[in-house]
Amino acid sequence: MDITSDTHSQHISRQFNQELEELKTHLMAMGGLVEQQIQEAVSALLEGDSRLAERVRDNDKAVNDMQLKIDDECTRVLARRQPAASDLRLVLAVIRATSDLERIGDEASKIARNALSLIEANQGAKGVVEVRHISEHVRKMLRDALTAFARFDIELALEVVHEDDSVDSEYASAMRSLMTFMMEDPRAISPVLNVMWILRALERIGDHANNLAEYVVYLVKGLDIRHVDPEELDEAAIKRQD
């Protein structure tokens, strides 16, 4: 059966309702923080702001701490409540999601570190257009995946899953053009490599956002669509109401 975010909070035990609500709230807070980390890391690069880049790098610990805290809360719910059905799926989805968000946080600090190298070397902005473009794309994916999680929204989650393919092809084409650039101007190899690492980090963020969207489908429908090619997804079956 399908669950909605409304029916999900009607347990006889209000304490249990509250514990599950807190898991979701804390996950959303963590999502908000990593989204801000990406945004600031990219801004630092685009605006040449080394202090902002340093702040992003240092904030990674806060993301890690949130993962530990939420995982700890999930462990307690499992031990004390022995959740079943959609409650169990929620706890599992939250545990998986914190791990992806933490990895997104790592990618954001990777972007910040590479941005710092570029700023310190005072290097020109080859590939910056691509970084801006792809970063907007993956941030939208992340935001949508988090919204889908908060609202138990399958349709939005499936949109995110399909978006990931276009991020992958944008990434591939950006890499090709940077590769050509390196061959033409060997002096640019070092800064271009920094940009490539940044693009690579953004592409990975897209993959993690895609994972989050897959957890939403698991949470709401009990279907595990990890390792299923998006082209082969039976969306009619996923959206069907039992």
Binding site: I3, T7, A85
Partner: protein, 273 residues
């Protein structure tokens, strides 16, 4: 292998019932209804119980799960208040058929209740009791069966040196395993357990659960329980009953991770419906 049949009753209530192939089932319940006086207790239940598996019946108090278990052992026979329709087939044979003797049925379908009820006699005599009612056996053969039953009920090591002590000297958990051994001694095909562990401490409960798991290689077990975690731990299939209706019947793995119907979801997750 098995598919779920959705159906919609006239009153608008939906059910989702896994279809166990007849060849794999030991018991078939077919459109069973039962009333206590005017009060309906079971309403048109149909399901098949698989052989060599543990099937749990869960549901709120008064949902009919114990009533159903009692039907399977014909415990309502002497109650004039009870009217019943539909059929129950044990290995294809109607248990209410004219050729079926109740004593014979109860040998094939054993039952254990919530409160351990050992007889006021020795441990040995408790297990021997059912055997003595059957064909006469040589003492040696009888001893072998009693040892086998006590071993099967995971009680042998604890009582082998005091078989002739009173059964009342055993703890609650041991008494319950003794009662199970007494039932096993006559080699039933189906074992009905009505809240077998609810009066026991957690460790004794786990021993009973372990025992249930081990027994299913030899017979089919039907377990009625209020304890959903227990149903989730030991059963292969779970049937959820509510208001005398079968709401959902599914593989336990599916029912506890992804139930098909809202009524089931609400019950197992403790939501108000």
């Amino acid at each position: 292998m098995s598919e779920t049949l959705f159906s919609q009753a006239a009153g608008g209530t939906r059910s989702a019932v896994i279809e166990i192939p007849a060849a794999r089932s030991c018991l078939e319940i077919d459109d069973l209804s039962l009333r206590y006086g005017g009060q309906p207790a079971l309403q048109g239940l149909s399901l098949r119980v698989p052989r060599h598996s543990v099937t749990a019946f869960i549901g709120p108090s008064g949902c009919g799960k114990s009533t159903l278990l009692r039907v399977l052992n014909r415990l309502h026979d002497l109650n004039d208040e009870v009217t019943q329709s539909g059929r129950v087939l044990l290995e294809g044979e109607d248990i209410h058929g004219p050729g079926v003797a109740v004593a014979q049925l109860r040998r094939r379908v054993g039952m254990v209740f919530q409160t351990p009820n050992p007889f006021p006699m020795s441990i040995y005599e408790n297990v021997a009791f059912g055997l003595r009612l059957q064909v006469p056996l040589k003492k040696r053969r009888r001893d072998e069966i009693i040892e086998w039953a006590l071993v099967s009920a995971a009680l042998w090591d604890e009582v082998k040196d005091r078989l002739h002590d009173s059964a009342w000297t055993l703890s609650g958990g041991q008494q319950q395993r003794l009662v199970i051994a007494r039932t096993l001694a006559v080699q039933p095909e189906v074992l009905l357990l009505d809240e077998p562990a609810s009066a026991l401490d957690p460790i004794s409960s786990l021993k009973i659960e372990e025992l249930i798991r081990n027994l299913k290689s030899r017979l089919s077990v039907i377990l009625v329980t209020h304890n959903m975690q227990q149903a989730a731990r030991v059963s292969d299939y779970t049937a959820f009953l509510e208001g005398g209706e079968l709401v959902e019947y599914a593989a336990t793995d599916d029912l506890f991770t992804n139930p098909r119907l809202t009524r089931t979801e609400d019950y197992i997750t403790g939501r108000m419906s």
